[in-house]
């Protein structure tokens, strides 16, 4: 981390970049948050540890409007989001100096809590995690504290960067579509019950939308009057019901499966399932597609072939 900080400071000091986009120390080891650093003093607060899960690419939209270059730290999976934003002209490559930072799987305090520990005072980001609690010390295996998304890691490669820092590790040890398949196998009643239970937790805090690098519209359709679907207050109930389906549809073919939506949901709704379902369908019907892998690729919903499957495929045994 010190090496990364030193390199960032060096680039800041020699004027290569005007600011650094990274993570700031939080109250605890486990809650670093995204931040811009413009001075050496501010850089004192800079941190990069195994809890730095936040995807910083979306902040580059605002950073692209600022004078000078912004140094941005991107993990391998974040670099896909960056590329996708680049493909959609939302950010300026010239305004970014990318340090591709190494990642060995990011940790989640929620996972630590899920292991049954209460009254957590401090936690390390080591393997295993050493946890100090009101009730004594404990250990949690690294893998067990890792975010779900890291179990289906996209790999060690950064798809875009100016320089690399640190080692990465492919932490995938699970089938990416396993959960989607499990739901697909349910009866309509079970599916409905599952999503009813999950979605009824939603409080429309918009955290998923705000964090999502694909949800980067200047003004969300749910906030505009273009579809008579505006206002968070219940003028009508339309947006409440359809928000998540529409959101998933709007990012379909553009979502890089970064998993931020599920990570930030205060209610723990597995929102990534909607996106993964679309990704799985797209892969099955229109060929393997990873948003952000190639800036020049044609998106699956902005292209077609004359031999595409008919929508009736859904009722004829589903998309396999």
């Amino acid at each position: 981390m010190q090496g990364l900080k030193a390199r960032a400071l060096e680039l800041l000091n020699d004027g290569t970049v005007s600011r650094v986009l990274g993570w700031k120390i939080g109250e605890n080891t486990y809650d670093p948050e995204p931040a811009f650093f413009e001075t050496a003093e501010a850089m004192e607060q800079f941190v990069y540890n195994n809890f730095c899960a936040a995807n910083l690419s979306k902040y580059m939209i605002e950073a692209s409007k600022l004078e000078g270059k912004t140094l941005v730290c991107l993990k391998p999976c974040d670099s896909y989001s960056f590329n996708q934003l680049l493909a959609e002209h939302r950010i300026d490559r010239e305004k970014a100096y990318i340090i591709g930072v190494g990642c060995k799987g990011k940790l989640s305090i929620e996972k630590v809590k899920q292991s049954g520990l209460k009254g957590i005072l401090s936690v390390t980001d080591t393997d295993p995690l050493k946890v100090e609690t009101l009730y004594g010390d404990a250990e949690v295996a690294y893998k067990d504290a890792m975010l779900d998304r890291c179990h289906v890691c996209k790999g060690k490669e950064h798809v875009v960067y100016d320089e690399l820092y640190g080692e990465s590790e492919d932490t995938s040890d699970a089938d990416r579509f396993e959960q989607v398949r499990a739901i697909e196998a349910m009866s309509p009643e079970e599916k409905f019950a599952f999503f009813q239970a999950e979605l009824s937790k939603c409080i429309r805090c918009n955290a998923c939308r705000n964090v999502c690098p694909a949800c980067s519209c200047r003004k969300c359709v749910f906030d505009s009057n273009k579809f008579d679907s505006a206002q968070k207050a219940n003028v009508d109930s339309f947006e409440e019901k359809m928000f998540h389906i529409i959101r998933a549809f709007h990012v379909a073919g553009r979502c890089t499966d970064c998993g931020e939506c599920s990570r930030v949901c205060p209610q723990g709704i597995p929102l990534h399932l909607f996106n993964r379902k679309f990704i799985k369908d797209i892969n099955a019907l229109y060929g393997e597609y990873q948003a952000g892998a190639d800036v020049d690729a044609k998106g699956p919903l902005t292209s077609f072939t004359t031999e595409d499957a008919e929508p009736g495929v859904v009722s004829q045994g589903g998309i396999v």
């Binding site: 519209c217 003004k219 359709v221 292209s303």
Partner: protein
């Protein structure tokens, strides 16, 4: 708030018999924005339109809803009516309570309820309508005719005679089409070539007509008044500017075993060939598939014998890009394949032929020099059987569901000609129905029976079986005599169903002209706009639109020409104002809309904007209204909803949905 007038049409009894129009009026009055509602016998009539006009003035209407027939029928009528009375034409919406309601429902209460809902949806939409201004687009004063048969030639001549430039694109090496293959024509029995050739010559010599033979349309873009077309001029391997048409090359060409397309495969042609003697242009082409020079590199006889030095083996396909204001499709027909009709032994016996093949056999320039003879052994037939409706009027997948229309008449012609020239030959025609609507047509058929002694038997043939002695056993039932017939014939002629030339499918796709399940092009209205495609600027001529004979084809060709002339006579066309429109405050500039635009109408530019006090440079989508055709593909691709479609906006469509589901 709009001030809306609702006008409910009785359409005589077409609507009023099933829909309680008074009730619709009454219910409409209760809808938001409605300040006036009334009904009338015929809204589209002069008096009906005057009623609308009076209401616009009297009630100061800002929008109107007409509950009547399909908007495809009278939307234009009511829009111009509104315009006459000072209302923007795009403030008019139609509730289709005839085709979509009164004509399909029997129960009055049910139909009335539905009509009320349809009216409500239209009212909800008009509440959100905004006045739109139609733009203008230019008209390229040149027409393209695809297909150089009698339909295409006639259309081109008529357009050219009116003073406009016309190009004909013909895929074979010569214009002339199917008609050039025919021997005689009904009901006058004049020689087909004698009446066609002068037209071909006229077309070739006309200063306004340019003919591209051995060429195909490869790409079409643009829209009415301003099409851009790529024409592939296939390499002829002969320099048309040097060739004198002497024909020596064809005589000397050593490769003479290619079945002649012109003679329907009944004779052979050389590798370098003109399809027939009167071909226009009289410039041969080298069939590179058959040419020894192209296959082995050795030969070059034609080049050696050509005095003019016209042979050019190195010639390449050429792409010509040209602009047109109108396009006429005249791609014609072919006979269907008979592979699935084993019972007629077409593939087993050379003596079973199609009627089109018989035309070639009867023709003096044909494979038998006009002698009626069996193709198997060259013997003169004594007994000829004609079978009608082969593949026509079939409900099964083997044939076509429609009547091919021309077969009854040409069979009568064939029967008559044979009996006239060979009185000792017996001619039997097996028919299901004899259909002869047309001037002098039934008289013609009766002459075949009464004067020429052609034996007509009602009953479809069940089977044709080649016999060891070379004859053909024809098995049929005489339905009027109630007896089964087994007769020996020397020759059997099949009145084979016709179908649109297979090339029409690709052309229709390029032109986005709609096509029916039989591959016939659809007309804009089956009765009122029979020579226009629903796609603006595309017109139909000849059999590509439906089976028809020569007189009908020529008549339709003229009609299509008149429509083209009417279009080309205009200097400007008003464009559809229902185009896509981006909201610059919402646009992300992400580029997805341009990816789905079929017209390349969307571009991006960086502009300074003021977003509620924030001034910044943004990359924004811009729509070219002259190019946008208003499909709306971009509106759904746009994640922020910045792109909307005028006349069919998100809010308008949602209002309709809400009104229907209320």
């Amino acid at each position: 708030m709009q001030r809306i007038g609702v006008f409910v049409c009785h359409c005589g009894s077409n609507i009023a018999a099933t829909v309680d129009v008074k009730k619709v009026v009454e219910m409409a009055r209760m809808e938001p924005g409605v300040v006036f509602a009334d009904d009338y016998q015929y809204m589209c009539s002069e008096a009906g339109q005057a009623k609308i006009g009076a209401a616009i003035k009297e009630h100061n209407l800002t929008g109107i809803v007409v509950c009547s027939c399909s908007p495809r029928m009278h939307e234009t009528t009511f829009r111009s009516c509104a315009k006459r009375y000072g209302l923007n034409p795009y403030m008019v919406e139609i509730a289709n309570i005839r085709e979509h309601c009164s004509w399909i429902h029997k129960d009055m209460q049910e139909a009335t309820e539905k009509a009320v809902i349809l009216a409500r949806a239209a009212i909800a939409k008009v509440n959100l309508n905004a006045p739109l201004q139609a733009g203008e687009s230019r008209v390229t004063k040149r027409a393209l005719v695809i297909g150089g048969g009698i339909a295409g030639i006639q259309t081109a001549l008529d357009i050219a005679d009116a003073g406009y430039e016309v190009d004909i694109v013909e895929k074979t090496p010569s214009i002339g089409g199917r008609m050039s293959q025919l021997d005689k024509t009904f009901p006058t029995l004049d020689c087909s070539a004698c009446i066609l050739t002068p037209k071909m010559v006229d077309a070739a010599g006309h200063e306004k007509i340019k003919i591209y033979t051995y060429s195909e349309v490869e790409k079409v873009s643009g829209f009415v008044g301003d099409f851009t077309v790529d024409i592939r001029k296939k390499a002829r391997s002969v320099d048309a500017t040097k060739c004198t048409g002497c024909g020596v090359c064809q005589e000397k060409c050593p490769s003479k075993k290619t079945p002649s397309e012109f003679n329907r495969g009944l004779g052979n042609r050389s590798a370098i060939y003109t399809p027939f003697a009167q071909a226009i242009p009289n410039v041969p082409v080298i069939d590179r598939e058959a040419c020894i020079k192209f296959k082995t590199g050795k030969c070059g006889v034609c080049e050696k014998v050509c005095q003019a030095g016209a042979i050019d083996y190195a010639q390449q396909d050429e792409i010509i890009t040209e602009k047109y204001g109108a396009i006429v499709v005249a791609t014609g027909f072919d006979t269907i394949k008979l592979d699935k009709y084993d019972e007629y032994a077409y593939n087993q016996s050379k003596d079973v032929i199609t009627s089109l093949e018989l035309e070639r056999v009867m023709n003096a320039a044909g494979p038998t020099k006009g002698h009626l003879e069996r193709l198997s052994d060259g013997k003169a037939p004594k007994e000829i059987v004609f079978i009608q409706c082969v593949g026509s009027r079939c409900a099964d997948a083997r044939g076509k569901g429609y009547c091919s229309k021309i077969c009854c008449m040409y069979t009568a012609k064939h029967a008559m000609l044979i009996r006239d020239k060979y009185p000792d030959v017996n001619v039997t025609v097996f028919y299901i129905d004899v259909r002869t609507p047309g001037k002098n047509f039934d008289e013609f058929y009766r002459r075949a029976v009464e004067e020429y002694g052609v034996n007509y038997i009602k009953g479809q043939v069940g089977k044709v079986a080649p016999q060891p002695d070379g004859s053909l056993l024809v098995q049929a039932a005489d339905l009027l005599d109630n007896r089964q017939i087994k007769m020996k014939a020397d020759m059997v002629v099949l009145a084979t169903a016709i179908e649109p030339d297979p090339s029409v499918r690709g052309i229709a796709t390029m032109l986005t002209a709609s096509i029916d399940t039989n591959n016939f092009l659809t007309e804009a209205h089956p009765k009122l706009r029979p020579v226009e495609s629903p796609t603006a600027g595309v017109f139909l001529s000849g059999v590509c639109q439906g089976p028809k004979d020569i007189p009908e084809t020529v008549a339709q060709a003229g009609a299509a020409a008149v429509k083209v002339i009417g279009l080309l006579a205009k200097d400007k066309l008003t464009t559809n104002p229902c185009t896509a429109k981006p909201d610059e405050l919402l646009c992300n500039g992400c580029g997805n809309c341009a990816k789905v635009c079929p017209y390349g109408a969307i571009t991006y530019e960086v502009r300074q904007i003021n977003d509620h006090g924030i001034r910044e440079e943004r990359r924004l989508a811009t729509v070219n209204n002259a190019l946008c055709q208003g499909c709306g593909a971009c509106t759904v691709t746009c994640p922020s909803g910045a792109m909307d479609l005028q006349g069919f906006s998100n809010r308008q469509l949602i209002a309709e949905v809400d009104a229907i589901c209320r």
